[in-house]
Symmetry: D2
Subunit: 345 residues, 4 copies
């Protein structure tokens, strides 16, 4: 296969980004089809990729013979309706997070994937491809600083828009920490609890923002997550890992330092697009390379299901103020080949 | 009064440090008397201060006419037995933290102080005199970054000795955060909850170490405290403050940076004595200066009582795993003059 | 043109790196031909690029019809013998630094390029594509901190091999600063002087290492360059820029910070390959993209000539200990379109 | 001797600072006499020190019996006229830098000191008492990173006043680096050369500011000093030390870090008073303690002479643009006891 021909489904902000990425920076792949119900948006997105055609529904795309793989970038509530026919067509899939928005539908996707006889789905938890997360994961595996005991996570966004609700603090935002905490600890999350710091008066009136989320892993590690989506000052994702004999920290900004007007300083990120630019590129490049070999190289549908289950518990924890235990179905043998440890950047 | 003549009661590690400090670095004061039941230790400590005499009990000290003030550095369980006669004698007192080990005895001390008609007691929460805590406090007061919403605190010690117990994680260690969170927020702590990360296998077998302590203030600010007393790598006290429009951090080490063997780096503290050396000096110098003016200049006995009450709740929270509300008696008018805001370094 | 077909001439370390880069990470280009006199090395290098053929001389390559552009990665003394026939064939060229090893031969290359009627040569000064250098350049252009007055540069390599001589400290190493100082200041270097700090006893016996090189620009800016090629501890390129109202610094390492054993720290680079990995990628990607549009997008042959002339003066300065003025021919109108300011990353 | 009674001669900014310091922060010493020709200024300064009297000339002071030591804080041109009678009176002296303004007068002071039979003079090069300089000195002595090869120094002031002239860039400012380079290297400076970066248009019209000063030590170490006295942004003294196997850096600011408005940052110093506050305190405290034992504990008159000779060469280098060798008289046996290595902080 010379170039992997990708159908990008959904041409919103994330989809358009991926189309641009695949065209400008990803080797060995091109966008052949853009699926987007909004005709104007679909045309504009397809124009980013020379040779790509714009369609308004995914069923039409599946009838074509110029699609080798699918990248799902629709809003989360539509993921299942794209995933099921794509699986039925036997196509490799990169599905933006979340896999689906609840564990029941995620389980349906798992069923469908198992029916194909092959792992076709990779889920877009791009942080696993960030260089610093990979460094931290490698440190944890090295046991150089003793066992990992706790994680302190901060996830800060400048502002949120009109459609952003309380539960989205869990399902859209903490969702990343839910996956990455498991990635770092290699242990599933067994409980979620949500605490309320003082409310930010600059957040939309309907939001309890920030929150402090406590995640416990089966292995006994406690992760606290400051989820804070109207911090105004920038976009920041930081993690401090507490080991038996040391502390490690990732997520500080690099670049030019300036001394001026009695201050020194540098630039902080203001969007996830710059903070995780390299991670997005690495994720897609590795997915393309793996796909050509008939493999996936990143979080699987099973990982997606685990996150969906923990998010469901998280929303309940947020609503009740209680510690909520997460329940999972037993892991099917189909997913016994754990991919998580193979990730290095 | 030319030089303030101080009786130092208790010549253990902390007492000896203070004797040395007063002699070598504090202007306008000298140690006239050392009270220490262990004769050899008392003699050794008195030898640090030219002209000081060693006595074995505090009653004898009170009969002398060369004492202008008292510095209490005995173990906490003996504080009350020194404080009450010192108050009766009308002497200004710097009492090492904690004021006493429980709120009931603290209230007895408050009664006795009120009976003298004058605030004579300053409690040794030296962090209030640390330059970086003072910078953070000033930032909070400035409202430059909007309201304070949350605090993330880490308090890490290299190792603990034989006598260090689970409850001492609260009463000896978190006690500092309990005071300093109130100092920073200017609001009393209304609840305490204790969470358990994975246990450090390098800690003594009887300790659940580390713990994550959640403190809520009356004003709604949530402080999480990682209390971690066998971290091996060093002594570290860090605070990250979350504001509506910004983040501030204190407690990173300064000094020479070295590049060698493929690494860059610098020295971390390994003891509170170096980390808070300047804070201890500033605390005692300011107390001496204030005492000569008939004032105190730092945390009062009332502050000490608030901490004792919150610690009691903290130990209960640690034992039960529950969120425990802290109860306080109403503030006597005697303590209505709030001193906390006057502290600047 | 779908994919730019590149002949890579020279399959040593640098050439092999570029072959790998073009194959794995550069979009819109592939290696069609590898020219390398060492047959085994050529075959090994060609094997990195699916579909590439290995040849032993460049003349044979020029007879083929599957070459759209040439990347010259031979040792510097052979550059001219590749450049002249490539220009004669009208092929776009990315020439690794230096253009040639002396200004006389560089002028011959300029003549040949002018004879083609079009700028075909881009020179591989990859630092111009480094994100932090671009940030510094942008700051200089912004005038936000007043005029630039001076630059302090440090260029440090872990060790040098057997073939590395004193003059190569200028022609192989300082050559980068000679270009980048002009890039940053947008002004040619008018004099070079070389000072001798204490000799590193760990350097090969024949080397005077480190040296301190002073570069003056026509605009009056003074750049000092610590060139230090046996520092043992790592690979480091740092620049401090002195402005009228501020200071800026680039080149500090980012990534995971670790606290352990009484120290904090992180990893320093140990090779230019990691330090400038992104810059090399950006350079080649942008050259490929520009080449397809019939343009260059980076330092020109004229830039290469300026560097060759300054290096010649530098070697003389190194030998004599004197301040040596650099002499340039007048800039041909052909090169009047200054490309340097267009570089942003 | 209970308290060292000090006559402070000169009550300008520096003298008043010292009076305040001795009164507020120095143990075991007090100011008994202030000598200042300006009556109002003398009275104001004396008022800072309880019990101090103000006199208008030093001869009157010498007639009194309440002076144990002298601190000379007059402008440099008057140092000799205070030092000679103070030496004749056998009084211990802390002389602010420089010892005197030229080597000939410094030699006269050395003669006079030798005539007393005892080292009575300590010179106020306070940087030797700065914690980070002491750390760097200790690293150099440790040989942990191999031999020291070079130093990069930056010395930056916000602005200069009307009276500040070109030669004062050497005699008032670089004078500190001239001493501290010798302190760090333990080797005298054998040559000085002055280079001219682009002139700062914000500097007073009569100043060539900044300059780059090159200092060579007898041991072959090359120190470059950016002397830059109208940087606007703050006060900054930084040193980077180049070793055979590593690099060390001192002089970065510590304290609270703030993230706000898309930036992170912290405060830089804006005056030497805060940057070297601790160093000034340590210097005077150690001088007081040593003086009571009949010793000095810091740079001697011989150190002061070495600096005066190097400054004279530096001014000549500044005027001529040439490399100027420094000439010294042979070291008298009287000064053979090298004090420099005893300095630790
Ligand atoms: Mg592509
Ligand atoms: Mg004292
Ligand atoms: Mg390619
Ligand atoms: Mg004093």
């Amino acid at each position: 296969m010379s170039e992997l021909r990708i159908a990008v489904v959904g041409a919103g902000q994330m989809g358009a980004d991926h189309i641009n990425r695949i065209t400008e920076r990803i080797v060995g792949a091109r966008v052949s089809v853009v699926v987007e119900p909004d005709v104007a948006r679909g045309a504009a997105a397809a124009a980013l990729a020379p040779g790509a055609v714009a369609l308004t529904n995914f069923a039409d795309a599946l009838k074509r013979d110029d699609i080798d793989a699918v990248l799902v970038a629709t809003p989360g509530q539509f993921h299942e309706t794209v995933l099921l026919p794509a699986l039925a067509a036997g196509l490799p899939i990169l599905c933006e997070k979340p896999l689906t928005q609840d564990p029941v539908s995620s389980l349906r996707v798992l069923e469908a994937e198992q029916a194909t006889g092959k792992q076709l789905i990779q889920v877009g938890f791009m942080r696993r491809f960030d260089r610093e997360y990979a460094q931290l994961r490698a440190l944890i595996e090295s046991d150089r600083t003793g066992a990992l005991l706790a994680l302190h996570c901060a996830h800060r966004n400048p502002t949120t828009g009109e459609g952003y609700t309380d539960s989205m603090m869990i399902t859209d935002s903490v969702v990343h920490e839910i996956d990455v905490v498991r990635f770092l600890t290699d242990s599933p999350i067994v409980s979620v609890e949500v605490k309320r710091p003082k409310r930010n008066s600059l957040a939309p009136s309907w939001l309890q923002d920030p929150i402090l989320v406590l995640l416990e892993t089966e292995s006994g590690i406690l992760a606290d997550v400051e989820m804070n989506v109207n911090v105004q000052f920038g976009y920041q994702v930081r993690t401090e890992a507490v080991f038996e004999k040391g502390i490690a920290e990732i997520g500080r900004t690099a670049g030019l330092t300036l001394w001026q007007d009695g201050q020194y300083g540098g630039a902080e990120h203001t969007t996830f697009k710059t903070r995780f630019a390299d991670a997005y590129d690495a994720q897609i490049q590795r997915w393309v390379t793996a796909t050509k070999k008939g493999e996936i190289d990143g979080p699987s549908a099973w990982d997606g299901y685990l996150v969906a289950a923990a998010c469901e518990a998280g929303v309940r924890a947020q609503e009740t103020g209680e510690r909520v235990e997460v329940e999972y179905v037993p892991r099917p043998a189909f997913y016994s080949h754990e991919l998580v440890t193979s990730v290095t950047v």
